[in-house]
C-alpha cells in the first residue's frame, strides 16, 4: 500500500472545517492559581443559607404542569394527525424540568429527585396516552404534597417511599406498554 493511498484516516476532508484559537481573554485577566478552599466554602455556605421561599415558584411550575396534563387529556379524543405528541409532552416536560432544576437549589431536594424521575419518564414516552397521563398526574399530586407539607431535604424514609412508589408506577407502565417508548430517546 503506497503512501498516497487514501485510507479512512487520511482521506481528503469533505467538509472544510477551520480551527480557530481565540485569545484567552479570561486567563489573561484572572491570572493563575484558582480559587482557595476558603472562598469555595464561603460560596457554598451562602448557597445553603439562602432563605428564598421556593413554594411560590414551585406552585407556578406545578400549575403549568397541570395545564399541560389537562391539554394532553383534552387532545386524547383527537385523531393522531391532529395531535402533536411532541408538543403535548413538551408542555409537561418543561415545567417538570424547572421543578427538578430549582427544587434542590432552594432546599427542596425531594422535589428535584421526584422531578428527575418525571423528566426521565416524559423524555422516553412517545405519545401521552391516558395511562401515561395518570402517572404524570400522580407525580403532580406527590410534588404538590411535598410543597404543601414543606418537606425540605430528601424527606428521609418517607421521601424514599414516595420516590419508590412513583418509580414502580413507571416500571409497570413500561412493562405494559413497551411500544410507547420513543426509539430515538431510549
Amino acid at each position: 500500500m503506497g503512501e498516497d493511498t487514501p485510507t479512512h484516516y487520511n482521506q481528503k476532508q469533505i467538509r472544510k472545517a477551520e480551527f480557530i484559537t481565540p485569545p484567552n481573554m479570561l486567563k489573561s485577566k484572572v491570572g493563575t492559581g484558582g480559587l482557595s478552599q476558603t472562598i469555595l466554602t464561603k460560596a457554598q455556605d451562602l448557597l445553603e443559607s439562602n432563605s428564598v421561599d421556593f413554594r411560590p415558584l414551585g406552585e407556578m411550575s406545578l400549575d403549568q404542569l397541570q395545564d399541560g396534563i389537562n391539554q394532553a387529556a383534552v387532545d386524547l379524543d383527537k385523531g393522531e394527525e391532529e395531535r402533536s405528541a411532541e408538543k403535548l409532552i413538551r408542555q409537561m416536560l418543561y415545567p417538570s424540568m424547572q421543578l427538578k432544576a430549582n427544587g434542590g437549589m432552594f432546599h427542596y431536594d425531594l422535589v428535584t429527585i421526584i422531578g428527575d424521575k418525571l423528566v426521565q419518564f416524559l423524555e422516553v414516552i412517545e405519545t401521552p396516552d391516558i395511562e401515561a397521563l395518570e402517572i404524570v398526574q400522580a407525580f403532580h399530586t406527590t410534588l404538590r404534597a411535598v410543597l404543601l407539607g414543606q418537606i425540605q431535604g430528601t424527606g428521609g424514609r418517607y421521601g424514599a417511599e414516595l420516590v419508590q412508589a412513583l418509580d414502580d408506577a413507571c416500571h409497570r407502565y413500561f412493562i405494559k406498554f413497551p411500544d410507547n417508548i420513543d426509539p430515538h430517546k431510549k
Binding site: Y9, L26, G33, G34, Q44, Q98, A101, N102, M105
Partner: protein, 218 residues
C-alpha cells in the same frame, strides 16, 4: 497566587429572579468585579452588545428568547461583537440528546441544576484553563465539540497504527500475523454462516438477520 476576577465582567441571564440573585451572589463571592443580570435572552443580548462581557451564564428555558437562541445569535449574527465569548448553559436537562442539542448551537459548557458552588467554579476553571478551540465550517460555528485536541495526544492511534501494522513500511503485502488474524476472522464468519443457514458464497444481507431473528423466537 489566586485567580483575581476583579476586572472580569460576567452576564447572567435567567427569568427566575431568585436563581439570578443566587448566581450573582456566588460570582461576587468568587470576587468577580462586575455581574450584569438580565431576565430573558432578548435583554441579555442587548447587555452583551452594550457591555461586552467576558463570559455569559444563561438559563435555557426563557421567553421570548431562550438560552440556546441567545447563543445562536451571539455565534452567528454579524453585529455580535465577540462571537468567541464562552457561554455556560444552566439547565435541569441531563439527557444526552438535550446536551448534544445545546452543544450543537454553540454552548461552551453545561452547568446542571441544581448545582453546588464548586460545580460553578469547575466550569469557570475549564473555560479559563482548558478553553475550547473554535470550529468554523459550512454547517457549524462554535466551540469544538470534542474537548481534547488531537495535537496534544501522543499515544496509540488505533486506526492509523493498526493499518500501519498490517502493511509495514515499504511492503505492499500483509504480514503473516495479519494473514493469520484474517484467517481466524474468516473461520468465525463461516461459523456464523453455518449457524444462520446461509450458504458459503452468499453474502449476508439484512434479510438474513431477520431470518435469524424469526428462527430464534420460534
Amino acid at each position: 497566587m489566586a485567580y483575581d476576577f476583579k476586572s472580569v465582567t460576567i452576564l447572567v441571564v435567567d427569568d427566575n429572579q431568585p436563581m439570578l440573585d443566587i448566581t450573582k451572589s456566588l460570582l461576587l463571592t468568587f470576587g468577580v468585579g462586575h455581574v450584569l443580570t438580565a431576565k430573558d435572552g432578548k435583554r441579555g443580548f442587548e447587555l452583551y452588545l452594550q457591555y461586552k462581557p467576558d463570559l455569559i451564564i444563561t438559563d435555557w428555558m426563557m421567553r421570548p428568547i431562550d438560552g440556546i437562541q441567545l447563543a445562536k445569535k451571539i455565534r452567528r449574527e454579524r453585529d455580535a461583537s465577540n462571537p468567541y465569548i464562552p457561554i455556560i448553559l444552566m439547565t435541569g436537562f441531563t439527557e444526552k440528546h438535550r446536551i448534544f442539542e445545546a452543544r450543537d448551537e454553540g454552548i461552551t459548557e453545561i452547568l446542571v441544576k441544581p448545582f453546588k458552588a464548586r460545580d460553578l467554579y469547575k466550569r469557570l476553571y475549564q473555560i479559563i484553563e482548558k478553553p475550547r478551540q473554535f470550529v468554523r465550517s459550512e454547517q457549524f460555528f462554535g466551540p469544538d465539540r470534542r474537548r481534547h485536541s488531537e495535537a496534544a495526544y501522543d499515544g496509540h492511534r488505533r486506526r492509523q497504527d493498526d493499518v500501519e501494522k498490517m502493511f509495514p513500511a515499504g511492503r505492499s503485502e500483509m504480514s503473516n500475523a495479519t494473514k493469520k488474524d484474517l484467517e481466524k476472522a474468516r473461520a468465525h464468519l463461516s461459523n456464523v454462516r453455518d449457524q444462520a443457514g446461509v450458504k458459503e458464497n452468499k453474502d449476508i444481507t439484512i434479510e438474513d438477520y431477520d431470518l435469524i431473528f424469526v428462527d430464534s423466537t420460534d
